[in-house]
Symmetry: D2
Subunit: 389 residues, 4 copies
């Protein structure tokens, strides 16, 4: 059996389907998409890719299925889905997801089109698997889709430990061995066995700590927002969105350097915009928190005009308000299946913590920071104390 | 400079005072006191000792002092205190602490007597250090005593990562490098610098997860309670408490095997009592939760009599109700020093979680479990559903 | 399936036989026998036990059998043997092996007597296994005995990584995942598959580096020699050898402290003898290298008399001349099974290196070192330059 | 003090010079040059960069200088040189080194020109450091240049552990803590202190094992040879060499995909050439082993013509015959400084092993493999058995 050496799970054995899928161009492309996009500008060791992550998810799915005692055709579909769950990502992964959704209406986990008639799709069929069923599972469908994309999915288990390994930040080091062993399948739902409220909580806590320290680090957010704006300009400038979607990281970085150099070179050389505004939820008017895409661009233009800088020098970055997907995971308590949010006091507190960590950012080149901050306070109706020093 | 290889911190450089202190019999004795007493009956790799832990605490204290820019005589006293902070422990550490306190009135961190006139004390004096000042620091005294015994102490930082390394349970893997670097000294208090609410929370969370999974694992609690009862009988049987206090683990294990064999051999061979009762706080009358030592013994005798077993076959184990010392740690938020419990939503939730995890245990040999459970329900006025299956 | 958390292999799943064997008193005793006896006096984190090591060997054996495609009854016997391979050890493992062999004629891997009629033996029979066949495998017998005790055995694979984990010395960190996957069974012999000369070499090299740095560290050798002498005096003093053999580490440490206190207390407190002589092979007459037990004792007495110290103050420590068992391991090269020593240039060099590292030691209390050194040079016919400074 | 989190060394503190150097475009470019170029096609986790490696080398240099007691201006120059030692690399590091040398006459460690008048050079001068002296040290000059580029340099120490961490292959996990602590400066030379022959050997052994398993893995060699040929065609096709030299990995990958697509796309998608010939030293005529660049191209053309494939479909890959630079490292033995090759039996054996592992490769697309093999046997005068199956 083919095996691949992995820095997190040691050897990963590939079944014949997986071995063939790995060789497809669609999967090989994942070698060139970094798992954490701009996080490496803060944590230099974090250059790992969705290729190795996908192998890791496949590995954990295989082990989970084996512990659950699920074999045969359905297991084969789930394993394939685990391996392929990220092939729908555009360049720089989540960072270009909104742009792609706005222009194509598709999310990265909707891969039905991608599997239809492609090399990956044919490879699946050669092995007697149904590409559309695999795509359904990637999208969370079917009882076992939860294992790939749900509250207790192996995707999360892999990325937490992998991101910890590669960033050096230990918070993500969950006990994936225990999680995989304690999964049960009850009435069509994945649950954690009796005695595992804390096991479920540990997953939430790990993600909350990684969120604050790694995933939402302000420097990474600034670079990410710059990348998103630059990508939008690239597409607006004439690059067909379907071509954009199929780019790899290096394609995008070169294209931005050539066609949107003011932002592209800044990202490449890490001469990033700075925070003009950094405002907590309590200081931001509700309509600003929920600003749509077009209104955001309009506000940016307005701020730019007032502060007398070019319009592309102002970036408003209002992340969605937090939700904690894992809070809906199921645990058995005293014999009864419960949602974690009912069984755990921590869920509510984590929700509050996530809200407390939310920040509206307005970014601009260092030289224009003060002017942009003043204008943003005005345009967005913010209090003065949210101006970043 | 002398250096010791450590499995957690790699090489630990010892200053001349530390190098001499390590060679004293009082410190060498720590080689024979396991860090986690009975936890190794659940996690077999957890055989590490207070010797290596003490070196680790010394190491982190040295680094923290260096980052804080504290040098000279006071730093030398703090380093010595960090190294010596555990020499007051009796055999099996915390497991015999209550017994020793009841019989001697002394806690393990009161080491003034121990330093007075001993080899350790003389060694300190040879190097121009004041043993009584070192003892004060071990007891949390002075502004810098907090570094050794306080809400943000290096003791906790070392044991969490060390226990994670040796048990294999990853939850304790905190970012001690960050904690040590973010310490500040403000108005006579140790605080964490701006932007570290989450750093402080991570310490609490790590301990909460380790509590549930490792430190308070029911099997370890049963063995610990058996060890405590056996030790009490050993002392009642004529072993002078001052001799008991100076024993190492192996001395106690042999003594129990010889003089309290019914319990001693069970601990050695892991043929432990079982849970007859396992009751949450909500199910236990307040006066039972707070039962004093003598009343506990009386209740055990009563249960034994009713269930017709020998009195030493019944053990009531009511841990103190939880407190979260770290919740009082100080962090700088928007320029102002705050208690973590004010700055963090999580503290309240963790308090609730700890209370939810509290359990009253009544233990007995497997053959007598049902009878003892029935009698305990009666004597302690418990509902039927807390009887363990 | 029962699972145990291990700090090296994460979760170890126990089959029903193993789960029952673990509960026997003979196996539980391994909790109290340290894997590296006196090495912890040099590497303080090395307190791990033969209990966790045995679980690790069982785990690797299970995985190797699975990769080899061996199932059924024979596999069950091999797994049981892997788990039980160390139950024949006396207290402090290898350190008392020579003494036990001289007095009983038995090695630690001859466990036929031990299994006959014991709880372990009965447990095996309950599960339909033949205790004598298990004992044969522990002794290296049968084709698959090599997996437990041979040139490519899983015993070695486990202890190298485990000792690295617990000492902090990285040299033992072999790629056990690869070794286990590359094992093949060819003509009744375990071999490594084509392309694995270097895999085999890595095992030799890891052991060679661990030998010099850890296993044969001079401080550990001194403490070990003292322990051996002290044990011999204990037995000579009337402790029945069969009782001695069944002791655990703590029993022996207490017994030595009480009955051979001059050495026992020194070991416990690490106030060790020092090297009077430290001589390479080239400087030692051949008959001294090969000195038998009785002649060694006679020479010690002679040295003691000349240097005017008590006879028990002189210890001669002449280890056996090195052999490299792994050099006989088999690898497939160009389709042909070869011994590693034929396929690898490194084997010869490692033999030479091991010989170059061999040292004759003569130890004595620090105050008597010079006198003992002078007398030893005389009695053992050594050159002056081997006197240790 | 600025600190960067690293997955290998935890926090790396940057002195003010380093903090400024890191922000230069020349250093930021290292974010985009992978440490192990094509090795990630075999070990998917190995995406780490020369940016993080350079920080690691700086960190180890700082610690080594501190242990050596070297401070002041010279230390500052050495630390800067350690940080900057890789900025002379072209895209894909060592893989394009020969091409660059042939076209510019410059090696990657000759950075005098690069520092002269550049932002890096100015930054050094701003801090009172001499760029030319830094460049000398990078090139191994001065007594302390050995620390950055010599037999016992910190470059090697960092990359071995880092490559082990990111590939998952443990062989590189040396004890860098010990190496750094055992360095001494004697008569203008870096040596390892008494008692460290094995420490020095461990460095050699780690590199030998990593060579065979990782650095010279045949798949990585094939991809590397393809990349080199493609780059040569790119430059021949008109890309100015000075522009080529300053490219980052993503620039080159995109340029190859566009301008040398037959090879570029194969590298990107890992549809690599296969081995037609794989021949040990003993099977290759001496003049073929030493074939110069132009003769190699001529032979390739000849093979292509005979086998009737396009000339760019044949690649001859004859690596330089092995040398073991570390064998010249110095160790103190019995008070005398010796070369390791004199003090260690292993060096000679490793030389033989390295020669035994040497392979001449001839690569071609899978469909043309047999024809190319037949022609290569003819043209290069090889025996039949070296044809790869």
């Amino acid at each position: 059996m083919t095996a691949v050496k992995d820095s997190v799970h040691d050897y990963i054995s590939l079944d014949p389907v997986a071995a063939d899928l790995v060789d497809t161009p669609e999967f090989q492309r994942l070698r060139h998409i970094k798992q954490l996009s701009t996080v490496r500008l803060v944590y230099p060791s974090a250059s790992h890719t969705r290729f190795e992550h996908s192998l890791g998810v496949y590995h954990l799915a295989s082990r989970a299925l084996s512990h659950l005692g699920i074999e045969g055709e359905e297991a084969a579909h789930v394993r394939a889905a685990a391996l392929l769950h990220d092939i729908g990502h555009g360049p720089y992964g989540h960072q270009t997801e909104d742009l792609i959704r706005r222009r194509t209406g598709r999310d990265h986990d909707e891969i039905h089109d991608l599997l239809d008639g492609s090399v990956v799709g044919e490879t699946l069929e050669t092995h007697g698997l149904d590409p559309m069923h695999v795509a359904d599972i990637v999208d969370g469908g079917g009882g076992l889709g939860q294992l790939v994309s749900g509250e207790l999915d192996v995707d999360r288990m892999d990325y937490l430990v992998r991101d910890a390994h590669h960033t050096g930040v230990p918070y993500g080091t969950i006990d994936h061995g225990r999680l995989v062993r304690q999964l049960r399948y009850r009435d069509g739902q994945l649950v954690l066995a009796e005695g595992n409220v804390q096991t479920a909580e540990s997953l939430l806590l790990a993600r909350a700590l990684m969120n604050g320290t790694v995933y939402r680090h302000h420097t990474s957010r600034i670079a990410g927002a710059m990348l998103e704006r630059a990508s939008e300009r690239l597409v607006d400038d004439g690059l067909p969105i379907e071509e954009f979607v199929r780019m790899a990281d290096h394609d995008l970085l070169v294209a931005l350097g050539e066609r949107v150099p003011d932002l592209g070179k800044r990202i490449e050389r890490r001469t990033l915009y700075k925070r003009a505004i950094w405002a907590p939820l309590s200081a931001v008017p509700a309509d600003v928190v929920e600003l749509g895409h077009d209104e955001t661009r309009a506000a940016e233009r307005e701020i730019a005009e007032i502060s007398d800088v070019a319009p592309e020098k102002v970036i408003i970055d209002a992340p969605p308000t937090p939700r904690i997907k894992e809070s809906r995971s199921r645990v058995v308590v005293d014999g009864v299946v419960q949602r974690l949010e009912s069984a755990s006091e921590l869920v509510g507190a984590l929700r509050a913590t996530e809200r407390a960590q939310w920040r509206l950012g307005v970014y601009a080149p260092e030289v224009a920071r003060d002017e942009v901050a003043a204008a943003a306070v005005d345009v967005l109706d913010l209090p003065m104390h949210v101006v970043s020093q």
